[in-house]
Symmetry: D2
Subunit: 352 residues, 4 copies
């Protein structure tokens, strides 16, 4: 019964034989495929996501099967362009890029232009690839297809609002069971927010999506929260070392991060200093590092979670159900301690 109904449903998501074959070929080129970490990455790039992508692209044991795009740091069209630009710089334009959600489920859009209006530091590149390089398949359809083609083999990394992931599970409720594991950047663990008093941007941008994903994605899940990232800033000295390497990638990152770096280097307000170490903060890079090498996190809080939807001050807040009040079966791992040396080495390697 399950097969009869559900396989056909999945078939309808495939965009046609030729694209599928392409995917298979690409798979077969990387020998032996099974030994590589297979990633599917959902981003709202954003310079933060750019850095994260560069970590994965440089990791020798990792293959990115596709990159799905979501609104967030900028409009979804810009996100697509930004991803293509990163891929070109890293000589990986063969990785398929898919356009997804342009607005949150309940349509009270909050783009965060923290990284410039184009999301990539406002340093345009006349030779950047155009949107014609974006795949025709919808990001949500691609997400379901790619993961269904390799059940329990793919790690899903999500570094933007979770709208695409939420739509995927609503379109195909069986889909999360086929994910090997998942690394999310989003939410908070001590109720400190960045976009709202008690809410982090990715979750606040689409609280319902975050709620859906944390309720219905039962695969092993790792969460990199806002405070965790702030508490694990990379010393500026090391950041300079990374970005002053003599490589195209180092120059590119330094350039797109210029404005952000300047902002991050400003004196940290006294209260924010309670949970913000001085240094370079790239939240998405930590989430990606976890996907690339789980051991980068040395201690986690493993507990059920939810997302507050109706609070006046707390809408979008990640809720840690430490005393098991919600009686949920599913638990997630919230990163608590980072192996900073491992993380720094991934960062350094990414820009070589």
């Amino acid at each position: 019964m399950f097969l009869r109904l559900m396989r056909p449903v999945l078939c309808s998501w495939k965009a046609g034989g030729s694209r599928w074959r392409l995917a298979c070929l690409r798979g077969s080129k990387t020998v032996p495929a099974m030994e590589k970490k297979l990633l599917l990455v959902d981003v709202d790039a954003g310079v933060d996501d750019a850095a994260a992508l560069m970590i994965a692209l440089a990791a020798p044991n990792v293959e990115i099967l596709g990159i799905t795009c979501c609104f967030g740091n900028t409009e979804v069209e810009n996100v697509c362009k930004n991803v293509l630009r990163v891929l070109k710089k890293c000589h990986h334009l063969q990785i398929p890029v898919y356009q997804g959600a342009s607005s949150p489920l309940l349509n009270t859009m909050k783009n965060d232009y923290f990284y410039g209006t184009d999301g990539l530091g406002d340093v345009p590149d006349a030779e950047a690839p155009g949107l014609d390089r974006v795949q025709h398949e919808h990001a949500v359809a691609a997400m379901i297809r790619i993961i269904s083609e390799r059940p329990n083999q793919v790690t899903l990394v999500a570094t933007g609002p979770l709208t695409n992931l939420a739509l995927a599970v609503k379109m195909d409720p069986k889909f999360p069971k086929k994910i090997k594991n998942m690394s999310i950047m989003g939410g908070n663990m001590y109720s400190r927010g960045n976009i709202d008093i008690c809410a982090e941007f990715n979750f606040a941008a689409d609280p319902e999506a975050a709620y859906i994903v944390l309720n219905e994605y039962t695969c092993p899940t790792f969460i990199t929260t806002w405070e965790f990232a702030c508490l694990h800033a990379v010393p500026w000295e090391f950041y300079e070392k990374c970005t002053s390497q003599d490589s195209e990638k180092a120059r590119f990152l330094k350039e797109i991060y210029a404005v952000t770096t300047e902002i991050q280097k400003r004196p940290i307000p006294k209260l924010r200093a309670l949970y913000r170490k001085p240094g370079f903060v790239s939240c998405d890079s930590i989430a990606m590092a976890i996907a690339v090498d789980q051991n980068v996190v040395t201690e986690s809080i493993f507990c059920p979670v939810s997302v507050e939807l109706t609070g006046s001050h707390t809408r979008g807040m990640l809720v840690l159900d430490m005393d098991d009040a919600l009686k949920k079966e599913n638990k997630v791992s919230i990163a608590k301690e980072l192996d900073m040396e491992k993380f720094k080495s991934l960062l350094l390697g990414a820009l070589k």
Copy 2:
């Protein structure tokens, strides 16, 4: 730009060339296609939806392009089976049936078993068609495809929770602009509820979906509310006349409605009598009648609306913004007066 990006996206929703050709052929058989009312119907059948479908199937000037199924009166698999059973009884099994959402967006499911556990009066038919007759394409994909193939020609009728419609606009935000118009059964106009104190079942079953649809579907929209349906019950005498006709359809409807009829004939509680006329109430049939012949409604309230999401008692309530406080551009028509003779004649004709 729009074409470059959006056409390909739509292409990915088509299930393949052969299915598309089939649709074209079916279209060409009905000469001349342009003169027929083209309907796409989203149901949670339910005997109420069954009666509604029978009205459309019997209407001489109407062609149903497809029926998409949503959870609601029963599980979505049962809804598919029930629709197929109705189609078989009406000799219209050629109409494609699609399976859609099995749960509301935020996954706090409320199936309403008012019409029996199978949603169709619990009078099983050993010769009913099986789920293998359900199309492989996902209901949401089909909805987008069918309407995109005939821009501004198709009337969308929705008689269940609005989950499929909500997913469709989140997957393709341009989709609602291609709908000719829409008739929805759902919500309330005076804050009377049936499933919650202030909320009607279809909206309460997925308030976020109702919110999304009423915010993002900018096509002309007609709403049949719970109180409107209750105020326009068909006299029992006339219901007997309809269902005692010597036809397979009349016998079928009488049979599946038997339990419901018994319940509806019970004395109406004093307070509910304030907005409930004695007689046969089929909310979905009125919404369908409006799609078949808009003139069945003789007076409407034309105003902006929203759906309450956060109330303790009012979650899912339809909100009529009569004083234009929300400054919304879009307005909907909320049925206020019914041409009862026209409606009765549609009902009688449906069972001939």
Copy 3:
């Protein structure tokens, strides 16, 4: 135990022996006290409350024991002044006036300056009594004392936000059991609002207070809703007849109502006309008329109610629990039909 604890608590509310004696004397002057309707009136005057007070002051069988003031149509100090001005015009300055709440419980003040910035039509009177005529006792203390002195004999009339009443029951939970009955102007019955989309001003001004009162005041309760008042407007012709009487009171009311009358005479917007009859609307006067002569209402909805606190569009909405979903013991009477001739005669008499 009850006496031991509670009598002393009440004693502490009295402002001293002399004031109590005064109240007793005043009571004994009106022979026989028992045959008079005893009213305690809580107002946010407001011209609407002024008209209501004039009805009670003119009613031969009614004695007003005190008037407690609440913010609402204007600041509470203005409300006190306005009440004193009305009392002076009606030669009833002996009735004690008490100052109460200056803000709603949760302090998101909404004064409604619909009746002018002074709440009384902005036609100042140089000879109006000053605030020195206001009693020293707090309105809430007075309310508890006055009603406790005459258990089950006093009708409480409330025509403003219910903040004073809410505070009274929180200060003395046994207090509502001593009220004979209560007539409230506030809330809505079909979800039509005046200050918010779905909320009437008095309830929206302090939703928590309305919630507390409707939950904890278990005395017989009559509610005059916004729509009920709108549906029972007095024809302008009759209003002219009332206010053109050759009396000080008629001239006074006409004067303070001048601006309001002008506004009310404007063409009624099409959608509001659905529940607004043309004519003079004085919501508070109807609530007062019910207190003076219960028979002025000929049909009521008798059901449990609550107040929505958390809705985005419905905060402050009166919720009618017609299907008894809340399983509340207490029910209230929501006015549905008015004996217009009786009401008109009270209005005419008030201005003689």
Copy 4:
């Protein structure tokens, strides 16, 4: 104007001349009154409050002007009895005790019987004082009176739900300006809860009261949160030292704390250990210690705060507005570091 209106209002709260004189005499006995710390304490005793009271009663430089009681750890009548019992044990029965709120503002009572059904460890004392020793004056009236008699001289300590304090400011909005400063036990700083997922008991018991107090009490305010108390548990060894002193008070505390001690000594669940040090936790004692000697706290977070009212998981959560999003003028001090030696010495002294 202020004086004319407000002084009389205050007068009405006084219970009469004799009681006021008594207070003055009591004041004059303690020479020189001005050099003593004057405390007014609002409790929901509770063994936790009992320990706190004993700290204040033993402090040489402190005078308690009155103790007002609120529901919380048990019914308000029990709270009164428990306070009297503590006062008798400490030979301070002359301190007046007042009965206040028996339920939260919105009347969804949550008594926490963590400390036994009687709130005092269920070790009844046949010779405990009776409720006849409770003052006749209402706690809220007494609170306003006592503080108004000594403007800017009295420290208010609140170790239970904040219902009495909320009522006081709604009855007399000028009252908080006369408070010297205030120490509250309640709320949380990292969103960890004890009674709800994200809410601490005192705030969750009456979130609206906490909201009102934190918005309208503009006096200098110190908050002892749940996590702060848990992070500053007193080692068991030291607790034994305190309670094994050869004194009536030590034996009394040991006895009423027996059950609680047993519970607190159980192994701490792994996740709670993230913010809970092993040892004796008395939240209220820390709040009292701050009132007795402000220097017991060596580091605070000084920022605007609010209380979440509408969250599904976060209702009652203390919200720290670290980035000044709410643009509130008022800020509070949230304890962050404790001088443990000072606190231990206060605790030891309390039981001598």
